[in-house]
């Protein structure tokens, strides 16, 4: 057991997978000597050489496209997209190719590819270095979409993602990289894709969230336990596709009230799908409206500190919303 930051745990997971399987390689912009602009792959090129940690040209389409081809031919690539905001040139590959090659070939081919990207804001990243993109990919059948929030989960999930025979979108909240630290077991373990995790038990109300917002929700929950005597359950999705409906419905059955929190824009975010599932399949257990707290519906998070702050859901705003719902 060691206390690692989220980025250290992530790097350790990639490192161990590379050591264990020579088919694993990393392809992306600045991943080599520079170790990635966030330093996720720092030291890995020195360790594994320039042909396992490869600086790509500045072209996301071919980062994903080439990795998709390499994966079909038997490799286990990890494609790094420097910022999630820059994944769009690869959208055609991801949606039309990567995600549906297994299906379209009737199972003849498969694409064991991990596409990693740092997402999210609160770091003065402005309109193009702050975006949350998970909902787009969660709408694509054939993709698994993972959004871990803790060092333990990030390491366990990156290992599952690399071992997975199908494409996995792996989104890391860039603000958590160094901010979030936690215990990580030494040696090999994995966390299954598709399983949520109750990060805090409670029976008054369920907060469903993931990523950086998990930490803000936990902060809000702790505060409300003290100030309002509220006992909040905090459910960390960890994977937003497929959703762990069993754990979600169980929690709703217990608490009867649900607040969904995400940083991504409200409209069309993951919250919609969650609310729909609950409103259809756990309707009779609901004691109040399903509420959502999310980033506002503006094209992205502005640069100026005043506007960035106005965009971000915060522990205080989460607490206020919990109070509102709890009082319903």
């Amino acid at each position: 057991m060691a206390e690692l930051s989220l980025i250290e745990a992530l790097r350790a997971g990639i490192d161990e997978s590379m050591a264990a399987d020579e088919r694993v390689f990393v392809f992306g912009e600045d991943v080599g000597k520079r170790g990635g602009v966030f330093r996720v792959t720092e030291g890995l090129q020195a360790k594994y050489g320039p042909w396992r940690v490869i600086d790509s040209p500045l072209a996301e389409g071919v980062i994903v496209g080439a990795c998709t081809g390499a994966a079909m031919s038997g490799m286990r690539p990890i494609a790094e997209i420097q910022f999630a905001d820059f994944i769009w040139p690869a959208m055609n590959q991801i949606v039309s190719e990567t995600a549906r090659i297994a299906y379209r070939s009737n199972g003849d081919w498969n694409v064991p590819l991990v596409i990693r990207a740092p997402y999210g804001g609160g770091i003065h990243g402005a309109l193009y270095h702050s975006q949350s993109v998970e909902a787009f990919f969660a709408h694509v059948p054939g993709l698994k979409v993972v959004v871990p929030a803790t060092p333990y989960d990030v390491k366990g999930l990156i290992k599952s993602a690399i071992a997975d025979p199908d494409p996995v979108m792996f989104f890391e909240h860039k603000k958590t990289y160094r901010l979030i630290k936690g215990e990580v077991p030494d040696g090999d373990y994995s966390v299954p894709i598709g399983k949520a995790d109750i990060k805090r038990e409670g029976d008054d109300l369920t907060v469903i969230t993931y990523g950086l917002m998990l930490h803000y929700a936990l902060e809000a929950a702790e505060q409300l336990a003290q100030t309002d005597g509220l006992n909040i359950e905090v459910l960390d999705l960890r994977t937003v596709r497929p959703l762990d409906t069993e754990m979600i419905f169980n929690s709703v059955r217990k608490t009867g009230k649900v607040l969904i929190v995400h940083e991504d824009n409200l409209t069309g975010g993951i919250g919609g799908e969650l609310a729909a599932l609950i409103a259809e399949h756990a309707f009779e257990y609901l004691d109040g409206p399903i509420m959502r707290l999310a980033g506002p519906d503006v094209p992205a998070m502005p640069f100026a500190a005043t506007l960035e702050e106005a965009f971000m859901p915060s522990p205080e705003r989460i607490a206020a919303k919990i109070r509102e719902l709890a009082a319903y």
């Binding site: 020579e22 390689f25 392809f27 050489g49 042909w51 396992r52 490869i54 790509s56 040209p57 072209a59 389409g61 071919v62 994903v64 496209g65 080439a66 990795c67 998709t68 081809g69 390499a70 994966a71 079909m72 031919s73 038997g74 490799m75 690539p77 040139p89 055609n92 590959q93 039309s96 190719e97 549906r100 090659i101 297994a102 299906y103 379209r104 070939s105 009737n106 199972g107 003849d108 081919w109 498969n110 059948p141 054939g142 698994k144 997975d164 025979p165 199908d166």
Partner: protein, 343 residues
């Protein structure tokens, strides 16, 4: 086509090879023509043709090693996949969207090839997306060799696309990557002068797509795409270059589109009527037959016999495929994930 004999010889093709090429060209044409008939009979909702591309396709594919080289064809490449090992029945199973269609079990449109056992990589409809895949396979081969410190894998990735498709950004990105690392990729542009209705001059400001290769640091070669031997030779040179580790080549085969774009198209709305008449004079099948006969490699009797045999094959394939079952609707949800299917 005047120097066809010379090139046939210099390329090291035996008479049997030339006849084998001719046979595959004929087979491709016959299967293709039958598909149009089936379409008009209401039995096949969609046909897309290789007619006018057979020489390029068969000649080029003949320079590959089936089962070793990776092949990423596009929808016109019936001649390619037949040369690499598809049977006529397999082709027709695709046309009829039968469960036994090796491409997709009837999930994709006809001519969306893919066959793992032949290393023919599953393709799709969006134009050009296969080109980055080929670069990635080339990259994987390069990685194997670099990690071993020598050439342990001398396979090549062969990928094709139309000249219209060369406008897509992903095609550029893939060629650029292949050029940066001298990847063993053969880029094949089958230039028939049209992207559906859009003539080449409206698509680009150059005559030859092959001119682009210089901007990526590798050779670009223009080849008469109605001459199978020239296409074979050019491909063979590119294959050797790639196997040696010297990097990619862009081959541009000047082909003819003898049909409308597809069975959904009506090319009389945009194609001058005399143009089609003119290009029919250059039909690659007729030209190659004439050459083989002039060289006494093929006799009229042999040709008749060949055509009979192929007609029979096409009949049998059509009947077998038509009789084969459609996919069971209960399979709709299968293979979204591989894990799902394999555990």
């Amino acid at each position: 086509m005047t120097n066809l004999q010379a090139s046939g010889v210099s390329a090291g093709l035996e008479h049997t090879d030339l006849l084998a090429i001719f046979e595959k060209m004929l087979l491709a044409r016959s299967l293709d023509e039958r598909q149009w008939i089936l379409n008009r009979q209401g039995k096949a909702p969609f046909v897309i043709s290789c007619q006018g591309h057979e020489a390029a396709q068969v000649g080029s594919a003949f320079a590959l090693t089936p089962g070793k080289d990776w092949v990423l064809p596009y929808y016109r490449d019936l001649g390619v996949v037949l040369t690499l090992g598809y049977t006529p029945t397999e082709v027709m199973l695709g046309l009829f969207a039968r469960a036994g269609d090796p491409n997709s079990g009837g999930r994709q449109m006809p001519a969306h090839y893919g066959y793992r056992k032949l290393k023919i990589v599953s393709g799709s409809s969006p134009t050009g997306t296969q080109v980055p895949h080929a670069a990635g396979i080339g990259l994987a081969i390069k990685i194997h060799n670099e990690l071993a410190g020598r050439i342990v894998d001398d396979a090549v990735a062969w990928v094709s696309f139309g000249e219209g498709t060369s406008s897509q950004g992903e095609v550029h990105e893939a060629m650029n990557l292949a050029g940066a690392h001298a990847l063993p990729v053969i880029f094949v542009c089958e230039n028939n002068g049209y992207a559906i209705s859009v003539p080449q001059r409206q698509q680009m400001g150059v005559e030859d797509v092959a001119d682009r290769a210089a901007g990526y640091g590798f050779p670009g070669v223009v080849v008469d795409g109605t001459d199978p031997v020239a296409c074979f030779e050019a491909t063979q040179a590119a294959v050797e270059r790639a196997r040696r580790g010297d990097g990619p080549t862009l081959l541009e085969f000047k082909c003819l589109r003898l049909t409308p774009h597809s069975s959904d198209d009506n090319d009389r709305t945009y194609r001058p009527s005399d143009e089609l008449k003119a290009i029919k004079q250059h039909d690659p099948i007729d030209r190659f037959a004439a050459y083989l006969k002039a060289e006494d490699i093929l006799t009229d009797a042999h040709e008749r016999e060949l055509r009979e045999r192929i007609k029979h094959q096409v009949n049998e394939a059509t009947a077998a495929a038509e009789a084969a079952p459609l996919p069971d609707p209960s399979t709709l949800l299968e293979h979204v994930f591989t894990s799902q299917a394999r555990d």
